[in-house]
Assembly symmetry: D2
Homo-oligomer: 327 residues x 4
Amino acid sequence: MSSNLKFGAGIWHFATYVDRYATDGYGPKRSLLEMIDLAGQVDDLSVVDINYPFPGGNVSVAEVKAALTKNNLSVIGITPEIYTRQFSKGAFTNPDPAVRKLAEDLINEAADMVRELGAEYVKLWPGQDGWDYPFQVDHHELWHLSMAGLTNVAKQNPDLKFVVEYKPREPRNHMSYDSMTRTLLALEKINLPNIGVLLDFGHALYGGESPADSAQLAIDYGRLFGMDVNDNLRSWDDDMIAGSVHPIELMEFFYVLRKNNWHGVWQLDQFPFREDCVAAANSAISFLKHIDSALDRMDWDGLKEAQKQQDAVAAINIAREALFGLL
Amino acid sequence: MSSNLKFGAGIWHFATYVDRYATDGYGPKRSLLEMIDLAGQVDDLSVVDINYPFPGGNVSVAEVKAALTKNNLSVIGITPEIYTRQFSKGAFTNPDPAVRKLAEDLINEAADMVRELGAEYVKLWPGQDGWDYPFQVDHHELWHLSMAGLTNVAKQNPDLKFVVEYKPREPRNHMSYDSMTRTLLALEKINLPNIGVLLDFGHALYGGESPADSAQLAIDYGRLFGMDVNDNLRSWDDDMIAGSVHPIELMEFFYVLRKNNWHGVWQLDQFPFREDCVAAANSAISFLKHIDSALDRMDWDGLKEAQKQQDAVAAINIAREALFGLL
Amino acid sequence: MSSNLKFGAGIWHFATYVDRYATDGYGPKRSLLEMIDLAGQVDDLSVVDINYPFPGGNVSVAEVKAALTKNNLSVIGITPEIYTRQFSKGAFTNPDPAVRKLAEDLINEAADMVRELGAEYVKLWPGQDGWDYPFQVDHHELWHLSMAGLTNVAKQNPDLKFVVEYKPREPRNHMSYDSMTRTLLALEKINLPNIGVLLDFGHALYGGESPADSAQLAIDYGRLFGMDVNDNLRSWDDDMIAGSVHPIELMEFFYVLRKNNWHGVWQLDQFPFREDCVAAANSAISFLKHIDSALDRMDWDGLKEAQKQQDAVAAINIAREALFGLL
Amino acid sequence: MSSNLKFGAGIWHFATYVDRYATDGYGPKRSLLEMIDLAGQVDDLSVVDINYPFPGGNVSVAEVKAALTKNNLSVIGITPEIYTRQFSKGAFTNPDPAVRKLAEDLINEAADMVRELGAEYVKLWPGQDGWDYPFQVDHHELWHLSMAGLTNVAKQNPDLKFVVEYKPREPRNHMSYDSMTRTLLALEKINLPNIGVLLDFGHALYGGESPADSAQLAIDYGRLFGMDVNDNLRSWDDDMIAGSVHPIELMEFFYVLRKNNWHGVWQLDQFPFREDCVAAANSAISFLKHIDSALDRMDWDGLKEAQKQQDAVAAINIAREALFGLL
């Protein structure tokens, strides 16, 4: 059980942000090419996930490719922006069928970009699909629209993989794909081989899941197609630097991945609103490497025995020893 | 879409309680017969759910039957106590196979009591099955034990119905059957006709679900075998009087039930630690009747149209008009 | 104890919004004059709180005055935007003294605008003052900067009132002025007569306070200078329509205000991201009037007696009777 | 800034527990003498906090003293049990003046026991003082009773120190002394030198505070009389092993204590429901020592500079380096 790590990041890690208060943004807008150059400055980054349409203004595919090559980066996924103004009342679940069609078209364009850039998957994060108020939606209808939209694009692109990134809420007060188990229920019902889950550590955490447990479950269903990490204070998707708050649960998450011989990219989904984005990425990756080496050091047999007894004290002592270098 | 309500309660509504601080209890212990007599004092209670072994000390089945008859009550479910000391490290998922067998035996005894008392189902609430700490359990193993235990007892009693009551946490920091969607995933995998879900409104609410949405989903899977209501502050299973905090979401929950022609008992799962238990039950039932009449009054066509547009303001106005008598 | 209601709203209720996902906004930008015209369409709105610098592009004071007059509106408060890009690392607590001076200057300009428009107060919401990460700040220093900044502007404008609007978090992961009690601690220490609290119902609620209790406390300290209402799901500042989730606690809040003869404006602080803003305001105000009439109907003597006994069931029954028209 | 650690624990760490489900307890009852013997088995425990009346059945003061001596333990505090059945509707705030007098008497007896055992303080945790439901209490009255009760006992025992341990909730849905800032508001109003705060790390954490910030504030008011540590999942008082979930915030907490030259006992307030209590205490203390040595290793000047800039990445990197031994 050795490791051979490859690190990635959503390209938005290197953007600047707006929110409802700092409407003029936390910094001047950046073009995609600038973001890629920043990504290239991170010590150990190999792949990026890129929004589509390309963020930060017009840029050609050729320019993007050149920037990627220059920075030694390749593309793992394309994320169609199915959560901007036109989709503010939903993409798959928009009450207007014409907008649902727009979402389908945009996803298909993103699929083409996956092919064009040699990426692995289309990432779907339907953040505007859901509801805000009691009584607002017909829950039966909404959920069926959620599944139908996903089914359509997956069937239209059988040569590609799609990953669904669930999240409890934000920007909607409640997202349709809100949890690992709900997403798996959908995938079981849809029953197509080319849809999987992208597990965001922070989304699982603030949704009250144990990310390690969620990873195991997705693996057991053969659906863990991707993952990313960050951290938060358990009540919101704070997208903080990985390991800055929950290092032990982060280690347990990677423990489950290694134990199951899951060999995907370790990606970052962080939003450094007020931080230097390169420094924030380096800080996270350096800690992820520490976790990887802690897993090398850890007493796996001892842990197995402790878990067999469900002995929390023994288990936590073993994990701590490896993670903190305790005697 | 008319209604013909039947009200029920867990018999523990009429018990006294202990917790980790008031270890001497919030009142003197009561026998099951005393609890039944208190239940009989509630204005409109028809059925009760009874723990097994019978709580509050020894009492014969004949005495229980007599007390029920005297109070005009029948039994809807039997809840085996698979969460007391011997099961404090789990029932289905206990690390000790001998304890898992004890749980199976106790559930089978409860099944016999269901037959004996003419109840509808065995209710399973495996509150000690789960984990407390990172690294404590092998999540793959734990989940399979959770499903295996349930499968066994359902197969051994094909003539009976079993209902699983999920809950996010307490007493375990994380329960295995933690949500509607996880429970449905298990039931789909187990694939037996005699296991369903008992949806506790408060458990759904503090787990971040919309209880209305969870009800719809369980109905769509043909698995909503029972329900109970109460209220809480969205961060814990406070088991407060139904409607005392979230009357609008409670109304939406019953709206979904009525819309789907679901005709089960409206049960209470409240813990009146410091309150008069009969008064607390009457307060809840009186409010449930108000909700029922609000659903009679509500503009169903208008709501349908609002939901078609996902128009939150129109929808909430229609619900409010019916619930509060607003013009 | 009669009532004579006056309703108000933050002018941002009539803006369009951006967030970190819908970076192109939930609708086309609106000028302040457009917002005022929308506010004028609400059935019973008398006053507004206006951001400074004026939002939505350049407009003269004369134009603003004319628009207000045309729409029969006056100004209750001016909210200097001490949370935009230049203040993204804090206003009072910015690590750079030059930025702290900018904040002071902006607040003083806002104070002039209060005088110019005949408003009641400068509203201070230092949303970027706080921290995101463990170890990020010197807590002693940060809190003293928080108090010093407030003290300075209040001393420089002794003829005006200042209100501090606390909030647990957002956009910072933790705001310095995070709660009613912390804000009161500061005001007691600062000991100036012209600083009070603006109590936002939703901020109190999702901060784990009882808004009714917080109102009572602020009144007991002579510091409840203003308030606004909205609703949320108790884990975030959702700024939903008032009463759409927590009508009973909203009623208790107004009960405490009436009981203490507090006669300020009932203001809205809602963010209708995807809703018609006029309809959302009308929906809220119509419900606030219902609450007001429920307080007329309520059995005050009965409630007083129930509270004397801390009898939750009797108290909740009395409140429900008035609010829902239960018999 | 060196350290010279002394460890302590609430004696209840070595008890067995009941809750509302495992009403027969998580293990057989233990006498106080047995608990003291278990405490004596922990590697580095010097002091204990003991409930009064003595838990687990009758035992004489002489026997307690002998057991303490045998186990090399002394007593830091006495915790009167003002939260058992007779106080289930409150101690200081009970609606019945006779029960309030009982609470006062019990606290005075506990004060005598402090003198008798040479302890440092009476610890007051009024866990039943508060409310459960909207409208249940007169908030003005409740808060004044909370302060009056505390004032009385502190005035009656001017030779002794009293510490108040605040907590957001449990067993009440809302406790009167719910936060650091509310407790400090009370202490400022009461204005007696012999009342301070006992800061429980976990209570601060799940109340949405930063424990480090709360410690700094209490120190700045001269009121940090004691502290204890544990861990939780940020939504409840789980009383887990210290550092098992939030090691970084735990380190920041001790950083603030050391920085301010605060030299009290490092106490544990853990509830090992299903764990070996001696192993749980050893696990925590071993980690606390690791934190202490991490503080020795940490780059204090670098951190000071990072905090001056509020540079989160630099600060978190410095803390991590010391805590995890990262390069």
